[in-house]
Amino acid sequence: MKVIVCVKQVPDTKGGVQFNPDGTLNRAAMLTIMNPDDKAGLEAALRLKDEYGAEVTVLTMGLPKAEDVLREAMAMGADKGILVTDRVLGGADTWATSTTIAGAIRNLEYDLIITGRQAIDGDTAQVGPQIAEHLGLPVISYAQEIKIDGDSVVVKRLYDDGYHMLKAKMPCLITALSELNAPRYMTPGGIFDALQADITVWGRANLVDVDDSNLGLKGSPTKIAKASDKVRKGSGEKVNLDAEESVSYIVGKLKDKHVI
């Protein structure tokens, strides 16, 4: 059984957020982590490795330094790492990203693709399902539990008001929630091995069946008008009133602002 896990290096929310002049994130200048939903997806794949001997390949698209996230995944137990990096792929929105990743995955054999539900930087939840669409695969999103049943997967898919139990024949794509599991730690020996391991690096030339018009910033239908860090609010207005007076004061303010 072969499993591909797509992971993304995202800004660590503990560090500051930095922007490029064009409004995109300045990823090179920020502290980074493995996206939490992706890490849960990786853990799910590693459990399939523990249980069924699955071979786990991690794939990421990003700057050369995104290699770090692959090495972390390998230190946790993934077998292979593939970095898709190329200047022409930069500034990609979800469409260009999913096109690129699908183009890379067309080189590989797989039974299952696992992605995180969404990344904490973009929060779109679009890339996983789009990859499935490009590759013509069934997709099960919001996986809270994954089990293998012969040549199929049985997935508990989380919804607001309950869950669905879905069964799909492999190959298929699953998007994972961070609630899926508690990802394992790396091991010290795993780290030493992962830093010795070869990482496969692919560029534009390695992408199969993709059109340049769908890649990078130029191939991205999403245009960012403006992005900013959160703006500090003023100190506000302080009033000292008793309980009843303060209720009518607040209601008055909310009416003034047409909130109620």
């Binding site: 010290p188 020996g189 830093l195």
Partner: protein, 388 residues
């Protein structure tokens, strides 16, 4: 000379830090108060290979080096001195001598279980009448047919009742050295559960309260002839060499305690307000933090240097790391005691309350000046190398 950490050490440090924050810190106060050995943490550390860091992969270990191991003890000790010493005593005092002196059979029998953490290790040298003066040993081992018969007791043994495999030092006869009769000392591997091997009282300690510190008692305890570790009569050398390594582990524990106390205190002084200002704005606070950070950094360089010298020994089996280890332990232990005491002072009354981590850290720090060779012994080792 390059003082930047390689990527592998940086990643390992992040791993240990994350593990310490998530798995160790939440228990630190409770296990200290209840004097409860954190078995669940040991199991988790076993799962992630923390109990076999500097052990070769073919022996079931992680295939890393002494510096990685030191970083593990350091990061654990930043949040819990007890957890740090569990790993240190197991790795340096039990796994290391088997790795260094064990026969191929002994290595095959013990290392995979110890390095994977399925079994925990301990080391028994100290006796009621023999601590620093190893010649004062009373525990005897007498060969009787195919078995050694052990009689005597060992005290203050870390991981005492929780361990499965013990390195035990005992007198096996007398030898003449320069016309003087001396005790012949040998080392043995003893397994828990061997008839005649029991535990005495549990020590009620000032610090590292969750560490299992027991007396080991041997009463006609029969162990196989091949339980002898290294050559007969080489036990003193084995014990001293083992302690050289152990000192690097304790130095890392002391370093972690100092760093942990300093980090906690930096956060505290920014929050704590007196006379309308945070106490971080007072020059007294600032200068004390500066002095402490400088001393901690100096200790860290000595500890890391000792670990790297030991790594060199593991390659060439020649390089001595005895003085480096003694300097690292002397410095780190004294820095730990000074820094944790000052951190308590900067916390004021709150520093004396058990709810605040620095209270425990100060109690934990004291032992690092005492065990695995007191600071006075470290000074003897260092000065002997200067005056030889």
């Amino acid at each position: 000379m390059d003082f930047t950490l390689d990527k592998k050490y940086e990643m390992a440090q992040n791993l240990f830090r994350e593990f310490a924050q998530n798995e160790v810190k939440p228990l630190a106060q409770e296990i200290d108060e209840n004097h409860r050995f954190p078995r669940e943490t040991v199991d988790k550390m076993a799962k992630y290979g923390f109990l076999g860091i500097p052990v070769a992969k073919e022996d079931g270990g992680q295939g890393c080096d002494p510096l990685t191991y030191v970083m593990c003890v350091e990061e654990l000790s930043k949040v819990c001195g007890t957890t740090g010493v569990i790993v240190s005593a197991h790795t340096s005092l039990c796994v290391d001598p088997i790795q260094t002196y064990g026969t191929p059979e002994q290595k095959a029998k013990y290392l995979p279980d110890l390095a994977s953490g399925r079994k925990l290790g301990a080391f028994g040298l100290t006796e009621p009448g023999a601590g620093t003066d190893a010649q004062g040993q009373q525990t005897k081992a007498v060969l009787d047919g195919d078995e050694w018969v052990l009689n005597g007791s060992k005290c203050f043994i870390t991981n005492g009742k929780e361990a499965d495999v013990y390195i035990v030092i005992a007198v096996t006869g007398t030898v003449e050295k320069r016309g003087k009769k001396m005790k012949e000392i040998s080392a043995f591997i003893v397994e828990k559960g061997t008839p005649g091997f029991t535990f005495g009282t549990k020590e009620n300690k000032m610090g590292i309260c969750a560490s299992s510190t027991y007396e080991l008692i041997f009463t006609d305890c029969r162990i196989p002839k091949d339980a002898l570790l290294g050559q007969k009569g080489k036990g003193f050398n084995i014990a001293m060499h083992t302690l050289d390594g152990g000192r690097i582990g304790i130095a890392a524990q002391a370093l972690g305690l100092a760093e942990g106390a300093l980090e906690t205190t930096i956060e505290y002084v920014k929050e704590r307000k007196q006379f309308g200002r945070s106490i971080a704005q007072f020059q007294n606070t600032q200068f004390q933090l500066a002095d402490m950070a400088t001393k901690v950094e100096a200790a860290k360089l000595l500890v890391y240097k000792a670990a790297m010298t030991k790594a060199q020994y593991q390659i060439d089996h020649k390089t001595s790391y005895s003085v480096e280890a003694a300097m690292a332990k002397l410095c780190a232990a004294e820095v730990a005691m000074e820094v944790t005491t000052k951190c308590v002072q900067l916390h004021g009354g709150y520093g004396y309350i058990k709810e605040y981590d620095v209270e425990r850290m100060m109690r934990d720090a004291k032992i690092t000046e005492i065990y695995e060779g007191t600071s006075e012994v470290q000074r003897m080792v260092i000065s002997a190398s200067l005056l030889k």
